[in-house]
């Protein structure tokens, strides 16, 4: 898969080869974070909200920050923006150090942090756009066309002269996004941009986010609980738990790590002919798998639950090394079982996320390594 990441890397190579060697500002990625840490409170009550986070984001990339509640997503974004003063670490936004030159950084950054609350509800949609463009350092008249285009793309053109207070929640949220983009920005931060939106508004927002990255080369960092949004819109995903980044990779690659060797296997007793049913209609009778076989499958292959259905039993198994699939097949035949079906289980981002965060939000960082890349480099072992 060619990601925006790859695309940008190619563009840069071309520029260098053309002799238009990039200057310092061009080699700086739009967002660069090094060793960012933030602890709230002191002593036993101290909470490490962001723990030694480092990442670079290339132009035109949409990065999704995922994590359970309290994982540190919002604190990370606010620390990057300087709205929360970090204890350690450096952040460069659009080539400017956020601590030393915040105004230079903010000149090229837009953010939507409070959803629909980000705007003035008593002003009209267009008045909000003009106001936020102006305090963002842009003369509103100079970005009139941009505002028209934004309103059109977000299906707000007909509402331009209505006060925000009179709009639906989804429309308010879209106004908020429009205001974050009311002037030319290089990097946009969107905290839960689709939270509480109806399906239609969410689709509009997703389409617009993707368009901004693809057509305007904008770098976008968004946090979301909505896995579908992240999977559909983002080029790359950063998964956080307990303030740490536990995975950081292209969405497709991260899913691939988990896709490589997950199967749903349906087995039956070898002596029972296909189509015959040795089990009474009430479902009672001998089980397909005896206890010893179940235990062996659990211990050797990490099988979790078994789904017994009459003369068939199904189970899911994840195998790090594809070679182990053949070992499993041999083991099942050795146990006098017939394999009726084997389906490759395609995980989605939600399953990846739950796997990495332990499902209940507890991190498996130590198992997973620091990133999805690390997991893949180890031969695709499921963390």
């Amino acid at each position: 898969m060619t990601t925006a990441h790859d695309r940008v890397a190619t563009d840069r190579t071309d520029a260098t080869e053309d002799g238009n060697g990039p200057g310092a500002a061009e080699t700086d990625p739009p967002l660069s974070v090094r060793g960012l840490s933030k602890t709230f409170g002191e002593g036993e009550e101290a909470v490490r909200a962001v723990d030694d986070v480092s990442l670079d984001v290339e132009p035109g990339t949409v990065v999704g920050v995922l994590g359970p509640n309290g994982a540190g997503k919002t604190t990370l974004i606010k620390s990057i923006l300087g709205l929360v003063v970090a204890d350690e670490g450096d952040v460069r936004l659009a080539g400017a150090d956020v601590s030393d030159e915040p105004r230079a950084a903010y000149a090229r950054v837009g953010a939507m942090l409070e959803g629909a609350r980000n705007v003035y509800w008593r002003l009209t949609v267009r008045e909000n756009l003009e106001y936020f463009a102006a305090i963002g350092g842009e003369s509103p008249s100079a970005v009139d066309d941009r505002h028209d285009a934004l309103l059109e793309q977000l299906s707000l053109a007909e509402k331009a002269d209505e006060t925000v207070n009179d709009l639906s929640r989804g429309q308010k949220q879209k106004v908020s996004l429009a205001c974050a983009l009311a002037r030319n920005v290089e990097v946009a931060f969107l905290d839960e941009p689709t939270l509480g939106l109806d399906v239609e508004s969410a689709v509009d927002l997703r389409r617009e986010i993707r368009r901004l990255a693809d057509q305007e080369d904008m770098t976008i960092v968004l946090s979301s609980h909505d896995m579908d949004v992240v999977q559909e819109v983002c080029d790359r995903v950063v998964i956080m738990a307990d303030g740490e980044v536990i995975a950081d990779d292209a969405v497709a690659d991260l899913i691939d790590v988990f896709r490589t060797a997950a199967y749903r296997v349906v087995v039956g007793r070898a002596e029972v002919g296909a189509g015959a049913d040795a089990t009474p209609p009430d479902g009672t009778g001998a089980e397909v798998l005896d206890d010893d076989t179940r235990e062996r499958l659990r211990e050797t292959y990490g099988v979790g639950a078994f789904d017994d259905r009459g003369d068939r039993t199904a189970f899911e198994v994840s195998l790090g090394d594809p070679q182990r699939f053949y070992e499993l097949m041999d083991a099942l035949r050795a146990a006098d079982l017939t394999v009726h079906a084997v389906e490759s289980v395609d995980p989605d981002l939600e399953e990846v996320f739950l796997e990495l965060t332990g499902g209940d939000g507890s991190s498996r960082a130590s198992d997973a390594g620091r990133s999805g890349r690390a997991a893949r480099a180890d031969g695709g072992d499921r963390p």
Binding site: E26, K78, R103, A107, R122, E127, P140
Partner: protein, 283 residues
């Protein structure tokens, strides 16, 4: 804002460079910021005329209560000090407007969820707030002038109104109130719910404006007090700026600069503290 030059490269990379140049350049100036703040305020006043007129009417009614109530109770005593009361009330409404323009706006922006957006302005949060204060002062001056006209019409009192002198003295007189507004606005960033302090400040301002200055020099070091003293002098006796004692003017400017400066510095420090504690966007 920093400026940058757009490169004339071609293709994807060239386009990106051009866009980066445009982004750096920007087209806004401080005038853009001021106009944005003024326009927002005017739009809100226009869109909610009842609220605007009620605010002004309350000012008139409150003065009417003081005047007619005081005359019924104190009679001649009130008439003798009417000039002082009018000047005091004018200054109080101005100082309160300036104080609230800063302090309450921090609370409101925080409540609305727009505070962080203002903080991220490339102009700098301090300048955004100063622009907001400038607009609040303009509004306060307009309301103050209307209130003054109302008071003079109701009481039949005649005051000397050397406009330039009154304007300059008023601005310096309420500068400490702006400083106090910044200080309490900073406290609002950290502690959020400080409305009760704001309410108490209404009475504190009355005390500062009415504080006796004759024979008690140190009182003039308090915020607004020296301004109140000089404004009364100018409006009651018709003295022009250059006719006022230079030492008194120096003290006025000194207290204005110090209180405004200290308040603004405290606001910045408290802003950093709020960001350290992750409280900037909280309410």
């Amino acid at each position: 804002m920093s400026t940058g030059t757009a490169d004339s490269g071609e293709g994807v990379t060239g386009d990106r460079r051009t866009r980066a140049g445009e982004r750096e350049r920007g087209t806004g100036s401080l005038r853009t910021l001021l106009w944005a703040q003024l326009k927002k305020r005017l739009l809100l006043m226009y869109r909610y005329p009842l609220n605007t007129l009620t605010g002004l009417a309350m000012n008139f009614v409150f003065f009417g209560m003081i005047f007619f109530g005081g005359r019924a109770v104190a009679g001649q005593a009130l008439t003798d000090s009417l000039g002082g009361i009018i000047v005091g009330y004018f200054l109080w409404s101005m100082a309160l407007g300036a104080f609230s323009g800063v302090a309450r706006s921090v609370t409101k922006e925080s409540e609305w969820g727009t505070l962080e957006q203002l903080y991220m302005s490339p102009f700098g949060y301090g300048r955004v707030m100063v622009a907001s204060v400038a607009v609040a002062l303009l509004e306060t001056l307009a309301w103050g002038a209307a209130t003054l006209a109302f008071m003079l019409a109701v009481t039949g009192e005649a005051l000397h109104l050397p406009v330039a002198t009154v304007l300059v003295l008023t601005l310096f007189a309420i500068a400490p109130a702006v400083g106090l507004g910044f200080f309490f606005g900073g406290l609002a960033l950290v502690y959020k719910r400080v409305e009760n302090i704001f309410n108490v400040m209404q009475f504190v301002l009355v005390g500062l404006i009415a504080a006796p200055t004759v024979g008690v020099v140190w009182v003039r070091l308090l915020p607004i007090t020296q301004g109140s003293y000089l404004l009364t002098l100018a409006m009651a006796e018709g003295l022009r700026l250059w006719e006022l004692p230079p030492a008194d003017l120096a003290l006025l400017v000194g207290t204005a600069v110090v209180y405004f400066g200290v308040g603004y510095a405290a606001f910045q420090r408290l802003g950093v503290r709020a960001r350290r504690q992750g409280l900037m966007g909280h309410y």
